[in-house]
Amino acid sequence: MSRSNHLGEFEQIVLLTILRLGDDAYGVAIRDEIRCRTGRSTAPGALYTTLDRLEQKGLVSSRLGEPTPERGGRAKRYYAVSAAGAAAVERALRSYESLLEGLRIFEKKHA
């Protein structure tokens, strides 16, 4: 596995959030969902640079929506997780599961 396929913690959160939101995953909704699900306030700059990086890695794709008046006539950019992105999340979650399994054994031994 190349180094660029390793996901950072925030990259995993963003990918999972996009998967949760489905067709409604754009900047504001992603930040709101992260705040709602994790209680973590995300700086807009951190989110947009992460989305750019994920798109450059080919883990997400984006498309433009329709302009809306509450956005000053500006379009939304909707994000979707690619097959490579879904595989990368799955790999990361399997790693976590493996690490958690080890912790459960540790707890049983010292209970």
Binding site: G45, Y48, P67, G72
Partner: protein, 202 residues
């Protein structure tokens, strides 16, 4: 100029224009419930994050842009001062040293005006010449001036001698005479380059 348009122009200095438009739209939508202070902070944060993200990917190129920007700025500033000398207004800056740290208003206006003009023209020149580059070549210089102001202010504070006047110069003078005109010039330069048919793809 509506604030969303200002945001869009500033964001277009660090990210492709189609992305700048959508990010400006996101910030506008969220500012409706969070207010103008949040909007200004979020905009500054996104521009800084995008700039440093690009800097991390191309450190040498950014350093070269900074060197070029400083050279252009110095050349323009010296030219403006020479122009002032030829017009006979240089005496405003070369008068007797003031008895206090505070500069006389005429001297301040002359020096501030030449600094702001040099910064605006630098932004115009490098912004137009580098309209195809991301981040815009004005950004390394803007970040450099901001860093100099913060470093000078911090040094004053550390030395225990921050005067109100010096604080005003670092925290208001540098943004007003260096950074704002430079960025405004960069935005104008990039806008001038677009309809000129230079084949720019941002």
């Amino acid at each position: 100029m509506p604030k969303a348009l200002v945001a869009e122009e500033l964001l277009a200095l660090v990210t492709p224009r189609d992305r700048a438009v959508t990010i400006a739209g996101d910030l506008t939508e969220e500012a409706a419930r969070r207010g103008p202070v949040w909007y200004a902070g979020a905009l500054a944060g996104v521009v800084a994050a995008m700039f440093f993200s690009a800097f991390g990917r191309a450190k040498v190129r950014t350093a070269l842009m900074l060197a070029a920007g400083l050279a252009v700025w110095a050349m323009l500033y010296v030219s403006l001062r020479v122009g002032g000398l030829l017009l006979g207004v240089e005496a405003l800056a070369a008068g007797p040293a003031p008895s206090s740290d505070v500069l006389p208003p005429a001297m301040l206006a002359y020096l501030g005006g030449t600094l702001a003009a040099a910064s605006f023209l630098t932004g115009l020149v490098v912004g137009r010449a580098g309209a195809a580059c991301l981040p815009s070549p004005v950004m390394p210089l803007a970040v450099f001036w901001a860093t100099v102001a913060v470093a000078a202010f911090s040094a004053d504070v550390a030395a225990g001698r921050p005067t109100g006047y010096c604080t005003l110069v670092y925290l208001v003078g540098v943004p007003a005479f260096y950074i704002a005109p430079l960025v405004a010039g960069g935005v104008c330069g990039a806008r001038l380059a677009r309809p000129a048919g230079l084949g720019i793809v941002r």
